[in-house]
């Protein structure tokens, strides 16, 4: 599904990713750990095609096609979707309109109001300006609503549980499971995912196939998500840095 080869990325002339390789197969979901500033968000925004993130070397293949230089909307149309950690608020653009736009590309029947209800978003809330005055948890749930409408094959989730209250964390987790076909049996899973998580809390609900630790713009370590998370919890990210040296 996703094959990243020797990726080097600069932001405003500063190198952030320094030769990153990563492969996510169809039906797999991977977790991405790393300290603040290690390049996790840079990686997902580069996969999505944000113009600020300049690929100076390497390439990104999606479903076998080189998408390294495609614009964002074409990547979305090919089947890549993203949930942002801090999406911008846009005056006058209604949440419902944006969900409807996303649904146009989703290639599935989609009833915005009904699906919204399942993740605790009221019809009134849908008429609000996108992300304007939304709480942290509301942002995360409305991001997921847009992804459910968009129905992407590769889902990039940047800290999907940060700011979500305890009451809704299970709901958010189950929604992600649905998005990623985790509610289906192994052989029937078609969707792939990449979940950025700093603390790893969401992984109690969303089971991942593999995890990677990002250190200074490179994958420092890959392995079983549970084991890696345990190591990080016990030894801290400092140990990952040392381990790499």
């Amino acid at each position: 599904m996703l094959d990243i080869q020797n990726l080097h990325v600069e932001v405003d002339g500063k190198p952030i990713l320094k030769g990153l390789d990563l492969k996510v197969n169809e039906g797999e979901t991977h977790a991405l750990f790393g300290q603040n500033g290690s390049g996790k968000t840079t990686l997902v925004l580069t996969i999505m095609g944000f113009p600020r993130y300049h690929v100076s070397e390497g390439r990104i293949l999606f479903k076998g096609e080189d998408i390294t230089h495609l614009p964002v909307n074409e990547r979305a149309r090919l089947g890549i979707g993203i949930s942002f950690q801090h999406p911008p608020a846009i005056h006058g653009v209604k949440l419902k309109d944006l969900v409807d736009i996303a649904a146009k590309h989703g290639a599935q029947p989609f009833n915005t109001e009904e699906v919204a209800k399942t993740i605790n978003i009221s019809p009134d809330f849908l008429t609000r300006d996108v992300n304007f005055g939304f709480s942290g948890g509301e942002v995360k749930r409305t991001e997921l609503l847009q992804l459910l409408a968009q129905n992407p094959d590769l889902v990039l989730l940047d800290e999907p549980d940060s700011g979500v209250d305890l009451e809704n964390i299970e709901l958010v987790g189950e929604t992600i499971n649905k998005l990623l076909d985790r509610d289906k049996r192994l052989r029937k899973r078609r969707k792939s995912g990449l979940i950025i998580t700093h603390a790893g809390g969401i992984l109690k609900i969303v089971k991942t196939d593999r995890a990677h630790v990002l250190v200074d713009g490179k994958i420092a370590c890959s392995g079983n998500p549970g084991e890696l998370l345990n190591d990080i919890c016990e030894l801290g990210y400092e140990e990952c840095v040392k381990c790499q040296i």
Binding site: M48, P71, A76, I90, G92, V93, D97, I101, A102, Q150
Partner: protein, 407 residues
Amino acid sequence: MSNIDELTERAEKARGKKAAFGPDIPLESYTSNAPAHKKILTLKTLPSNYQSQSLGVGIDAKEDERSGSYFQLDTSVVYSKTSAQDVEVLSVTEAFEKYDWLKDYWWKTVAVDADKYTAQAALNFSNGYFIRAKAGTKTILPIQACMFLAQESLSQNVHNIIIAEEGSEMHIISGCRTADELSHGIHVGVSEFFIKEGAKCSFSMIHNWGPEVAVRPRSGIIVEKDATFINNYVCLKPVQSLQMYPTIRCVGENATALSYSLLYATEGSHMDVGARVILEAEQCKADVIARTITNGGEIISRGNLTALHGDVKGHLECRGLMLGDHGRIFAVPELDGAVPDVDMSHEAAVGKIAEEEITYLMTRGLSEDEATSAIVRGFLDIEIKGVPPALQEEMRRAVHTTEGMGL
């Protein structure tokens, strides 16, 4: 000397007087004479191209959901009608024949010698509308008034009087435009509003001029005790030069003035638009909100709140969006507190669309142009308090049907 003679003399003296704002327009290159057009029995008998062009400025020839209509073609009032009881829609000429007291409202809020354009309206008067809601009458369906300019090189010089009597409520949609084929012309419009005690009046003006047309409205509004005046202005189409700066005087206790302007200037357009509110009694309130966009044109967005009395409140907001590499937005918010105990504020911001907003929408599948358009439409989609839903919808339609917006 009679009052009329005195006004004429003052106008004569101001014939060459340049306006305080806006480029000077040589009025000699226009004529104030146009062939008379015949009266019509229904707006549906207007030429079909005029009907469709008027629809773009909120004038519905079918008169659905309208309580009255006025249509002026060049200098001729071809239609005026009202279906609401106790609301009058007449030409000012007819109103003068009917009401002797009308002279008490004539040139009372705008000085006849303010500049060469007010002088032009006085000396080469080409009619205008008289709209009056009698005391206590409440009409929710809007009254529509259209100033249509079709004669080449015409200076259309109108003078309108609007009176909302005590405790009345009315909503006016005023659509002004030029015929598609017209290349050169000027519209000079004096409008005087009298919003009496406890009355509420909204005035929504949608303009659609041509790239070689100059526009010089001159408006004065008096808002009495407990009365509300809502002024909405939409101009999203090319215009050579548009300059207006209406003055709203809140003269009675608890009078409210709200002003909203939506402007979009393409290359070659010059717009100098704003609103001034003078708060003259306690508990008066004012909001002056402007959303301006340049895509190559020049916009001067003015706002002035002047407090002459304590215990008043006002807010100014000028937000400007720069699209493309050319164009200029000059926001001039002014607060003038001449007494203590006033509460006035302003915020002004001019800038381009944040790239992250465009990219965010693109992640949901919109192209860059579609994303820009959605943000631009959203920027102009302000909720106007106090106008009926039909009018709000009309304003929204004007925004959504502006072709090429943001592209």
